[in-house]
């Protein structure tokens, strides 16, 4: 079983739609959950992260963690064409003095006008 599972999509939505991106993970010990955004031919950039369970909101983006079901989500409200990118969930496994980021496969999102 992979440590982090993510549907690679692609996902195509009209502008203004609410987007839901999801991942599941296997190790209940994970504490930090991250969402990275990657534009085509670029390196990923951290979008937001949450610690333990709960929600975190930043503008149009909401990250949600449900530790009981080992499920993490990213919601994008009022999606824009500029949101078109690949979204990668990541789990932070801190051990031995470094952060080993375990990534999902990434979901490619296309928001069309």
């Amino acid at each position: 079983q992979k440590e982090v599972e993510q549907d690679p999509g692609p996902l195509s939505v009209p502008e203004g739609a609410i987007v839901s991106l999801n991942c599941t993970y296997s190790n209940s010990a994970f504490q930090y959950f991250m969402w990275y955004r990657q534009y085509s031919r670029k390196g990923p950039e951290l979008l937001m992260y949450t610690y333990s369970s709960g929600n975190k909101e930043d503008g149009r983006f909401t990250a949600q963690v449900d530790k009981s079901s080992k499920y993490i989500s990213l919601f994008i409200r009022d999606s824009q064409p500029s949101d078109s990118a690949t979204y990668l969930c990541a789990i932070d496994s801190f051990s031995g003095g470094y952060n080993k980021l375990i990534f999902g496969a990434g979901t490619r999102l296309a928001v069309h006008p």
Partner: protein, 112 residues
Amino acid sequence: SQTIHQWPATLVQPVGSPLSLECTVEGTSNPNLYWYRQAAGRGLQLLFYSVGIGQISSEVPQNLSASRPQDRQFILSSKKLLLSDSGFYLCAWNHEGEVEAFFGQGTRLTVV
């Protein structure tokens, strides 16, 4: 401010040829450094990480090696490339205990 440089952006190499990808970080000291590979439809796979000069840990057995000759320099190498080495290679850094990692722009390697 801190920046990370990775080059080249694109590389096409024949099977059996050597490889050297370089990554440097500016504006910080004693970073943790990482090499990831991203294959199409798959997540980022951690290849190597380094917590200091000359200290390299490998995550997966492979045809590649890494070196850290200076504090802010991280090099990914191969003596003989395989077709399966094709992919998008990303260098990243952070500081010990920090959650966020900062990525370079990546090198797209095609082995032909």
